[in-house]
Symmetry: C2
Subunit: 366 residues, 2 copies
């Protein structure tokens, strides 16, 4: 395959291994694996999960749920607070598949109960510490009000409590991730204990790649919902969720200019290819990507001393030591490991495998 412009490369082998590892982990802990497909957004990559026996998935929008329904998925959770304006999509999906949706307010429950025409499963979205969305796990009053609303309508089936511990993204290493997991788990266990006698079939659904990758404590959890692990990225490697060798995507970018006087290389590859997601590295520098060693097929581990220091719309500015700049030529390809693979994949809209095969994905609004 000849690369001539920013191209999102997918190492199929690494990706399959990441899937296999998470399937094994879920099995080991007796959890349902319901991978979040918002990372890859691809029917074909979804198929790779199916080959490993996965039959349930999560998505982040009703549009994406329709895409995966059309790709044959029959049990989908929209892991996002229900957007009541998309009632037609909810009914269309609920008619066709086992649709699980997330509710976190009585207001939403009332609107849903009003428009729903087919049976749908409801997760109550709870907040066990991340403080983005969800009802506080100890706000029994609000939870009971929603349960009442659900029980009043035979088309609404209470499925359980769903939480996302997104604050693990601020952690470093297994110990810190485990500490957060321990704190959220205590809250989820208390919640479960409070409602299990009344709802013996309720499940706890937990998702986030750091916890699912690093922790070994899932006794109280029926369902795991990680997403990013399918590709991983620099952010996950910095957290410690994966090694750099486990990152399954890289953006191949042509070198278009060199500025040795300020240790900079300019690549064709900017914010519209990589996204402006950033992390602070161990030296306190804000970086927008790392540069991986080129291999005969694909790429290897990050090259010491190189990083993406700035992104404009189409330009990427790479910091590189003298010795590297001296060797690099205009037209060479650099392999950029993305900070956040979900956003990078979403921007590019397709993958190229190392064998040059193109893999498509869901496009919002099209």
């Amino acid at each position: 395959m000849k690369i001539i412009q920013p191209t999102l490369l997918l190492n199929e082998e690494t990706c399959h291994r990441n899937i296999q590892n998470m399937v094994d982990k879920a099995k080991k802990h007796n959890c349902i694996l319901r991978p979040h497909f918002k990372t890859h957004q691809s029917a074909e990559i979804g198929q790779w999960f199916r080959q490993q026996g996965v039959t349930k998935c999560a998505v982040s929008s009703l549009g994406m749920a329709i895409y995966f329904t059309n790709a044959g998925w029959k049990d989908i959770t929209v892991a996002f607070p229900l957007n009541v304006l998309e009632s037609d999509k909810v009914n269309e999906l609920a008619k066709k598949i086992t649709l699980n949706i997330c509710i976190e307010s009585l207001e939403t429950a009332e609107i849903l109960s009003h428009f729903i025409q087919h049976s749908v499963n409801i997760f109550i979205k709870v907040d066990a510490g991340y403080h983005r969305t969800g009802i506080n796990t100890d706000d029994f009053q609000q939870i009971e009000a929603i349960l009442q609303k659900i029980n009043d309508n035979p088309l609404l089936n209470f499925k359980g409590f769903l939480q996302h511990a997104g604050h693990t993204y601020q952690a470093k290493g297994k110990l810190e991730v485990d500490q957060i997991h321990q704190s959220t788990s205590a809250k989820m266990i208390a919640l479960k204990e409070r409602f299990i006698s009344e709802y013996p079939n309720l499940i706890i659904s937990n998702g986030d790649t750091p916890t699912c990758s690093l922790s070994e404590h899932f006794e109280h959890i029926e369902e795991m919902r990680p997403g990013n692990f399918v590709f991983y990225d620099v952010m996950q490697a910095e957290i410690g969720s994966c090694s750099y060798e486990e990152i399954a995507v890289a953006m191949a970018c042509p070198v278009v200019a060199k500025h040795p006087e300020r240790n900079e290389i300019i690549i064709y590859g900017g914010a519209v290819h990589l996204s402006k997601e950033r992390v602070t590295n161990k030296d306190g520098i804000t970086i927008y990507g790392l540069v991986a060693e080129p291999h005969t097929s694909g790429w290897g581990k990050p090259i010491e001393g190189l990083y993406v220091k700035k992104l404009s719309q189409e330009h990427g500015t790479i910091h590189a030591p003298d010795a590297f700049i001296e060797k690099v030529k205009i037209g060479d390809i650099l392999y950029i490991l993305p900070i956040h693979s979900c956003l990078t994949a979403n921007l590019i809209g397709q993958y190229s495998t190392l064998k040059g095969k193109e893999i498509g994905m869901y496009r919002f609004g099209f």
Copy 2:
């Protein structure tokens, strides 16, 4: 038009006025206006420029140049360091239109000279202070080496010097923008004086929305190349390039959750809709967008005290005062003014006018 999901609204009237204002400004200063189409990336919006007499444009990639060539544009500058790997596209375009490309190294000039099959105009990209790309304006030795290479090949025509003063994006107000412009202008004037006797037809091409919006000194400049002004955005309003009323795009986003206890509203509208571009506001807070007043048709100025404080993939977290949260309902639409309209438009890939008409745009890789 019923909005049910994140929708990029375009106020046609404001957009037409922004175009008209820049056309008038270029005329007043006797400059060619070569608007940068990387902001809107739309054949239809390009047509609005044509209606105002604009016949030249700039783009940021060869793919985008092909898109606008297909839309009838016959004089296009690719305002990005030439990507030598896309030689086929260069030849395809050079055969069909007046193609202007940017060179900033002898290495690139040599490769270009080797593969070029049709006549092409060359701008030497110079650096007058931004330090992203370009040869230092006083590096006459390198400039002369490139000119020699251009002169050696009859298919290569030296057109002039091109610079982008992207450091005006760090300025606040007309005075600071003018100071930067004065400093870059001094360098461009010295460069012109050095080469004008040998190349009497050379032109100076300058682009950046703050300078073109605010400055009144373009005596030494033959061509203006601003892009963002077509829509403007929060970043430009913060610099002072425009008023908030001149921002021509807003993302309409449904409210999906409310958390009054922490003054937060959650919208369906995240990093995949708005981009993770951010600015620091006057209170030192990092913001990812502002919330505009809803009008009967469209939106008005920003609502005091509200801002986008955080973005996940699909979630936007709005900071809002108590009084606002009390009134807002699940399913209401909030109008988000984007920080950087170029990145937001690129993510969504289409516009909806206030009359509900859909306007398409170039899609990278498709």
